[in-house]
Symmetry: C2
Subunit: 385 residues, 2 copies
């Protein structure tokens, strides 16, 4: 049920022709309250799309009434015309919903540089149509309207003690830290204030979406938004709420990984016994971004030499000659030398696990990535996106 | 003529069965003097192969009598046995040449983790065979013996006023800064002391091999060595020598780029008007390493949005909304927005030029890279290397 699983929310997804396929391309999520609390995290890319520039301002007061999302155009690097398009989108939604445009967030995804007059008109028409379609069962339609090269919509729900957290996500390429051509809306009927919502969201995204690094490419349009309606009347324990929110974020992140463009392996890189968590993240990311490693996994080749060569490029605390590496449960490298024969490793399953033991401390981190495949090259060379 | 173009050098290339193809796999370059000056730069990867660990020590006194190079095995992560193999290689060459083993550098390239007893015996036999084949015409054979997945040997010669600089290189994958599965030996008959040789080599590699970033992957085995025999009797002006050396390094770097694994485009990224040279390098490298950009170039798609998205991940001084981007002479983006239509850009030639104008200063840098292709994925997934 996605963003309408929690009480107090309505949503809609409609088609207005932004996608050449005729599929749904405008989503609207509305918080009916009684609370109108919002929190959001944005791409850390300095090249930010117009909807990011808008939403960063709109979220500042912690009040969000609605979120408009479109696929079929990123509205990034489209100049002041593009920013006006975003502004008008929020104004149209505000007028029709009877709320301030400054409490309406906007998210866009699609080709950078696209966002002309025709795009603007379709988005505005789409907002009008979506308002007419709003319903407490609209979560599925909304989740379908935000996908681009995704092969399927992503939804997740976790139920707490009298309150619910539900969300939707889209994203298939440009999956990298600081978020990833990724639009996510999560709703809850828990009673939260803006500060608590913001803290819980940052806590959850730090160990979920920020650890998803499919292809090392950081998007201009990423946004993860949390809306709280308070409709359950229950104020949860902060840790319990953060845990549920993290569970939803991790579930959605795994769905994004599992649907990454052209991927044939979902690779979980677990770094153990690092001196610090940041060391563990740096090591995991260096491996996740190594094209030679990623191509080897595509070829079902347990090439641990490429893992060590990647780790060697980091500033993390470790001794290259005292590192152990496991692939799918087989220790292929111990103390920086060959261990079990590569023939013992079965890399044919889609789910692939690489464990790296740095032996310098007690910190750990997990990075999610994908392999580098012919289909990845094909999807990102044959079509503009 | 490669490493034997300059006076005072002999070289050889022999086949001892390290390569399954039966092609040459051991190269030897000997400096007959009168000077025995050497300088070298090494991979900045913290995971260093045994020949790197050896050669870093051997070069410390600035005296080099000979360099032994093998393809067919990286001798990296092969433990103390592997280090002994490197040591014995230098000792064998030293005995046969009547010089100290501490003045013999060793370079290896091939699969990480390979370097067993059979490998050792072949390398030692190869040194003996190569000493027997040494000749002042051996530069071509030596250049052929160091290639791995290269489709052709790389050689370059520049003639100065009475002195000569000549070199050979190998490298086709793992081309990245801090050098790149790349072995290079350059010789000169100019009169240089060790300090001057080291300074000239660092000056030349900083703007040539260090600016070649084919696939973002940094090797464990890279080494660039300069040997000076002084046989010309001429001590060149430092700037003139550095210019000639840089020309040889750039020529070899371009040859490496032109033969990079699976590439269909040689991409030159020129960053202009940066606040500092390091900003220019950081921006160029961020684009060179962006898989989405690289795949777009493979697809002949002038996707400037991916260029800006890559620049946005850097800490360089720039305004994302005041950047111009040219592709093959066509300004596709001005002031962070669309300019000429993408149809105007012809990306079908192999030589591709991307110019980025940051408009924040007067510094510039050029980065050389390649596109991301099906053949790159194939070559790096179907074979262990």
């Amino acid at each position: 049920m996605s963003v309408t699983a929690a009480q107090g929310f309505e949503a809609a997804g409609v088609a207005v022709g932004l996608k050449s396929t005729g599929n749904k391309d405008i989503a609207l999520v509305v918080n009916r309250g009684p609370l109108k609390v919002g929190a959001a995290v944005f791409t850390s890319n300095r090249a930010k799309a117009n909807p990011i520039l808008w939403s960063e301002q709109a979220i500042a007061d912690g009040v969000v009434e609605a979120v408009v999302l479109n696929s079929g155009g990123a509205n990034c690097f489209t100049g002041s015309f593009g920013f006006q398009t975003t502004h008008q989108t929020a104004e149209r939604a505000g007028e029709l919903l009877g709320v301030s445009s400054g409490d309406v967030l906007v998210c866009s995804t699609g080709l950078i540089g696209s966002g002309d007059e025709a795009f603007r008109q379709k988005v505005l028409d789409g907002v009008t149509a979506a308002v007419g379609e709003l319903s407490a069962e609209g979560g599925v339609a909304a989740s379908e309207a935000i996908i681009t090269t995704d092969s399927r919509a992503k939804r997740s729900v976790v139920v707490g003690e009298g309150w619910t957290v539900g969300g939707m996500a889209k994203g298939a390429g440009m999956l990298a830290p600081g978020l990833a051509t990724m639009l996510v809306v999560i709703t809850t009927d828990a009673v939260l204030d803006a500060e608590a919502a913001d803290a819980a969201l940052r806590r959850a995204t730090r160990v979920s979406f920020d650890r998803l690094d499919s292809d090392g490419c950081m998007s201009t349009n990423d946004q993860v938004t949390l809306l709280a309606s308070g409709a359950s009347g229950i104020a949860p324990d902060a840790d319990a709420f953060a845990a549920a929110l993290t569970e939803v974020c991790l579930d959605l992140a795994r769905q994004l990984q599992g649907d990454a463009e052209g991927a044939s392996h979902d690779i979980t890189i677990r770094v153990h016994n690092a001196e610090s968590e940041s060391d563990a993240v740096e090591v995991g990311r260096s491996v996740a971004r190594n094209n030679l490693f990623k191509a080897a996994i595509f070829g079902n080749d347990p090439n641990w030499g490429r893992v060590l060569a990647a780790i060697g490029t980091t500033a993390a605390a470790f001794d290259p000659y005292d590192v152990d590496v496991w692939m799918n449960g087989v220790r292929v490298c111990s103390e920086g030398g060959p261990d079990r024969p590569r023939e013992d490793v079965d890399l044919t399953p889609r789910a692939t696990e690489v464990v790296i033991d740095l032996k310098t401390g007690a910190a750990e981190a997990t990075i999610l990535t994908n392999d580098l495949t012919h289909d990845y090259v094909h999807e990102n060379s044959a079509y503009s996106s």
